[in-house]
């Protein structure tokens, strides 16, 4: 396994894992996003033969992360599951049984459409709204944060067209958001018209966007402002800016 990359943010110690998640030391929490469990099953049920081993290995990777960081809980910022219930989710339940002491807190994403009772059965705590823990807030899609809800972020969001513009907003005050949804990727260009794209962690002045944990997910290229921090997953972690 590639080593995790230490990153300090608002006085907290974070570890960026090349397996596409963040360990938050003070809270002993593993933060992840966009796992899309059950996606292969959803496709296969419709007669589209995607190899199911993607899903098995996603679960295995998550297991390795849990064994490595030993978190108290998982903070999932949305899209833990891909769609409606299918047999693949039974495998998740079985997997879940192996970690009775692990808390799972899911901030609902647009793909999380299972019945409430199912989350209860899986011992998953579900938040429909933004979740606040210490200096951090957790939300699925940063676009859903209403301007005014957080004055600082509101200004920031109003200023940007997308992640690109990056108006200078002072980092003081307001909560710092962790979000997902976007499946961010960073495109690097070099001489000789070379270009490469990698999934990445994005840390702006007021919010972060996490890479998608599930391997059967694409990336959307982002265009960060110069002062933002971006870490590409190459497969090792590498700070791009």
């Amino acid at each position: 396994m590639q080593p995790a990359f230490p990153y300090r943010l608002r006085g907290q110690q974070l570890w960026l894992s090349p397996d596409r998640c963040v360990y938050w030391e003070e809270e002993q929490s593993l933060i992840l996003s966009d796992l899309h469990f059950g996606k292969t099953g959803h496709f296969r049920k419709a007669g589209i033969a995607v190899p199911q081993s993607v899903y098995r290995e996603d679960l295995l990777r998550l297991l390795c992360q849990i064994q490595y960081f030993r978190p108290r809980r998982l903070l999932v910022v949305g899209d833990l599951f891909h769609s409606r219930e299918n047999k693949e989710l039974a495998l998740f339940l079985k997997w879940r049984d192996d970690f009775p002491d692990l808390g799972i807190h899911l901030i609902q994403g647009n793909h999380d459409i299972l019945h409430e009772s199912w989350y209860a059965k899986a011992a998953i705590e579900l938040s429909r709204e933004t979740l606040q823990v210490g200096p951090f807030s957790f939300v699925h899609d940063i676009e859903d944060v209403q301007p005014g809800e957080d004055a600082q972020l509101g200004k920031d969001l109003a200023a940007r067209g997308d992640l690109a513009a990056g108006e200078d907003v002072s980092p003081a005050g307001g909560s710092y958001y962790f979000s997902g949804h976007l499946h961010p990727g960073i495109r690097l260009r070099g001489m000789g018209k070379q270009s490469l794209q990698f999934p990445c962690f994005y840390f702006g002045s007021d919010y972060a966007v996490l890479p998608a944990f599930g391997r059967w997910t694409g990336t959307v290229s982002i265009d960060p402002a110069p002062k933002d921090n971006v870490f590409a997953i190459l497969p090792g972690i590498m700070q791009i800016q």
Binding site: A49, G192, K193, R215
Partner: protein, 831 residues
């Protein structure tokens, strides 16, 4: 049975004579074969009676079998199945057939069946099949998806495959092979004649073999040739001044004023343009410089609404149009008699296509087919000279049949599983008789069956894969109605980019446009389609709503459709012309006046500059130029083998050099050559050049070059759609299917990582090797090069040859460096 003694023949000849016509010799020859129940090929160009060579044969046969009541007999069941690649053709062919039947007073019905046929008509056909059914390969497969389909073919006598040369070499051709095998299978392998109708291609015999592979052996196919010599005259349109640094595209429009007198002096002119985007631009430009043409010219390409296209075709027939700007959309089909002149803008890429387009003009007997060649950059003038010589020597391209297209087979198996189901052993024997699948192993067959029933790799107790089910007794069947319905929507092998319909706010369709293009536009912006400036109002329910715009500036859409590479024949001829040009320069230096093509003479200043800065290669030489610019270190190579072979060649060369030292390249290629660009000096010199271009270890080296994965990824898109891995959604139900959408690139990554031996992934790599890279052509090229001379030059500035590559290019990456190192260096360069 002697044709001329039969009552059927006499009836037909009498009927023809009443109109002052008589059959052509090749038609009579074909009729004789049809009476004998034999199968084969009719080799005839469009517009010389090829339809009647088969259709009337079937009619004669019917009259002979029912001499007393052939007029009054109705409801005879399907006698003649007419497979045609274009649904636009169906109407015209059907009309011609109906005229004959009416003239003979027969009660035969002619039906058509394609994507446009309404459900009521289909239902009628199901109850009572017409005697003649004109059908596309896709609709034929849909017919095979109906329960009890063998009933349809019970009394079938003749299957005609029209434009077989167009179908051969494509997956639609494979669909035809599969359908023919199945139809013959329902008839116990005999009793049906299969007759292909093909224009001249380099491998006509093979085309016949492919078509008839499923016929029982010992029945060698016939070939009937229509001997028709129509003289073709080629003339180039020359720029007033030769640009020494050519780049593609822009010169064409500069020459547009020279087109006006040509249009004015002939009755109707067809202007063939290679891309849909350029045809829009041309149409606009023609109107701008000659407003008098408004109303007298039209635009025709594949993305324009069917109704508008049909209107253009009708107007062409009636001679109402002075000129039509068109793309390959008018390559096929019935002839437009009023067309007197054809203009080809830019490279036609192949001899056969050029001939076909030239043949679009001058249909009156005794007339000459006149075609003008208008270059889009000055170097392209060489192609006119090459085409003329190639035509003289009859160097017409072959169409290579597809082999082992597992995606089409997977689709076909699901089709059969919807209707009556199939038994594995029985069907395997049938498939082995086709040309496409004759080399399929039993193991591959088992893999395919496993894929459609189990869905490949799976976690069994947690899996709900459901498609084809293996029933008790060994029948393979699709039982889920949902799966069946989805599959029906999916039948076909033409994979297009995601398209949106374009509609007026006030109603009525304009055409279609790629989602990719329109998604980058904002409401209020304008674009051009079907020769109109349109303002984007909104996108709603997969439809782009537009209104008319008077804006001066408008974006011209680009369509990502496949661009044809230069054919091997034309490439060979180009190398020869270059050789002649080099000789011309040398001779002139000695004060001689050599006799050469006028095009080469006109290009003399360009060749002189090339010779002064670099070198003019002989036919047995390969020129390699290395140039340093602000962008980095360039390596230019000019094999004249077409874009796709160059892409493979570039990947191979880059891979071989990357073994010498860690280095990254980006590639660019066009039909004449390719470029490798790096930020470091390129390790190629006289000492290692022969080794780098060696044909040894070709296959292994190509597979190891990173690029083959990139190319396979692109091929995989079509394969995934045809093989049913990408669900494109129900019509009008865009949103509902969203959880089932996945991009082909992503699927490729998942398969390559988690199921790399998957049949369809293997097929993607095979297609890259065999079709895209044309491994054999690449090997031939390397062998040719290794027997000849390599000429290395280090010009101080860009040369006429390299300029088009530098300016318009399509790039790929290859690297052997560690990813981290490469990224660090890219960053360092950016600072």
């Amino acid at each position: 049975m002697q044709l001329k003694e039969t009552i059927g023949y006499k009836t037909i000849v009498t009927w023809m004579a009443a109109d002052g016509r008589q059959p052509f010799a090749f038609q009579e020859e074909a009729w004789q074969y049809i009476l004998e129940g034999r199968s084969g090929l009719v080799n005839a160009p469009t517009g010389c009676g090829k339809t009647f060579s088969v259709f009337l044969g079937a009619v004669i046969d019917f009259i002979n079998r029912h001499p007393d009541d052939y007029r009054t007999r109705g409801g005879n069941g399907l006698q003649l199945l007419w497979i045609s690649p274009l649904r636009a053709l169906a109407k015209d062919i059907g009309r011609a057939m109906e005229e004959v039947l009416a003239g003979l007073g027969m009660r035969w019905q002619v039906g058509t069946r394609n994507g446009d046929t309404d459900p009521a008509e289909r239902a009628r056909q199901k109850r009572k099949m017409p005697e003649v059914l004109i059908i596309t390969p896709e609709s034929l497969h849909l017919l095979l998806a109906q329960k009890n389909y063998p009933e349809v073919f019970k009394v079938l006598k003749v299957v005609a495959v029209d434009e077989w040369h167009e179908l051969l070499g494509s997956k639609r051709g494979v669909q035809v092979e599969l359908a023919l095998a199945r139809i013959l299978g329902t008839r116990g392998g005999s009793g049906v004649s299969i007759i292909g109708i093909s224009a001249t291609i380099g491998n006509l015999e093979q085309a016949g073999e492919v078509l008839l592979a499923s016929m029982h052996r010992g029945e060698g196919g016939f070939i009937v040739r229509a001997v028709i010599h129509k003289p073709i005259e080629v003339e180039s349109i020359f720029p007033d001044e030769i640009e020494k640094y050519p780049w593609s595209g822009h010169l064409g429009l500069k020459l547009i004023h020279k087109v006006i007198p040509i249009i004015m002096s002939s009755r109707t002119t067809l202007i063939f343009i290679n891309t849909r985007g350029m045809s829009e631009t041309w149409y606009q430009s023609l109107l701008n410089i000659c407003p008098d043409l408004a109303g007298a010219i039209a635009l025709h390409h594949g993305s324009i609404d069917m109704e508008l296209r049909t209107w253009v075709e009708e107007a062409l027939h009636e001679g109402k149009l002075k000129a039509v700007v068109c793309t390959a959309s008018l390559d096929l089909g019935v002839d437009f008699r009023p067309v007197e002149t054809v203009i080809q803008v830019g490279s036609p890429k192949g001899v056969a296509r050029f001939l076909q387009r030239a043949g679009r003009s001058g249909h009156q007997p005794g007339q000459v087919s006149k075609i003008w060649f208008l270059p889009t950059h000055s170097l392209e003038l060489m192609e006119a000279a090459a085409l003329k010589s190639a035509m003289q020597e009859g160097l017409i391209e072959s169409r290579e049949p597809m082999l082992l297209s597992f995606d089409v087979l997977i689709q076909f198996l699901s089709t059969l599983a919807i209707s009556d189901g199939f038994y594995a052993d029985e069907l395997f024997r049938e498939l082995k008789q086709t040309y496409c699948y004759s080399e399929m192993t039993e193991e591959e067959w088992r893999e395919i069956l496993h894929f459609i029933t189990e869905g490949g790799e799976a976690l069994h107790q947690y899996d709900e894969y459901r498609k084809v089910e293996l029933m008790e007794g060994g029948l393979y069947k699709i039982n889920s109605r949902r799966v069946a319905m989805r599959h029906r929507l999916h039948i076909g092998t033409i994979v297009s980019e995601p398209m949106l319909k374009v509609r007026w706010v006030s109603g009525g369709y304009v055409g279609v446009i790629e989602e990719y293009f329109i998604s980058r536009m904002e409401p209020g912006e304008t674009f051009t389609l079907a020769g109109r400036n349109l303002e984007l109002v909104m996108i709603k329910d997969m439809t782009v709503l537009v209104r008319k715009s008077n804006a001066r500036k408008s974006r011209v859409p680009s369509w990502n459709g496949g661009r044809m590479p230069l054919s091997a024949n034309l490439g060979m001829m180009l190398r020869r012309k270059l050789d002649e040009a080099g000789l011309m320069l040398r001779a002139m230096l000695e004060g001689e006046e050599p006799v050469v093509d006028i095009e080469l003479r006109v290009l003399q200043p360009l060749f002189e500059l090339q010779a002064a800065l670099s070198y003019m290669p002989r036919e047995n030489e390969l020129l390699i130029e290395q140039i340093e610019t602000r962008d980095g270190y360039h390596l230019f190579v000019y094999p004249f083998e077409g874009r796709l072979v160059h892409e493979a060649m570039a990947a191979l060369l880059a891979y071989r050099m990357s073994r010498i030292t860690p280095i990254s390249f980006s590639f660019a290629m066009n039909d004449y050559g390719f470029e490798l660009l790096s930020d470091q000096p390129i390790p190629l010199d006289d000492a290692n050049v022969y080794e780098l271009f060696s044909p040894d270890n070709l296959t292994a080296d190509i597979q190891r070059s990173v690029n083959s994965a990139e190319m396979a990824r692109r091929k995989f898109r079509d394969i995934a759609v045809i093989g049913g891995l990408i669900f494109q959604g129900y019509p009008g139900e865009y949103a509902k299917a969203r959880h089932l959408q996945s991009s082909a690139g992503l699927l490729f990554n998942v398969f390559a990582e988690y199921d790399p031996n998957n049949l369809l992934i293997r097929q993607a790599y095979n297609e890259v090797m065999e079709q895209q890279m044309e491994e054999q052509r690449l090997r031939n090229m390397l062998e040719r090069v290794s027997r000849g001379q390599m000429v290395l030059r280090w010009p101080k500035q860009l040369t006429p040859f390299c300029f088009p590559l530098k300016v318009d290019s399509m790039r790929e990456d290859l690297s052997s460096e560690k990813l981290e190192d490469r990224v660090r260096r890219m960053q360092a360069q950016l600072r």
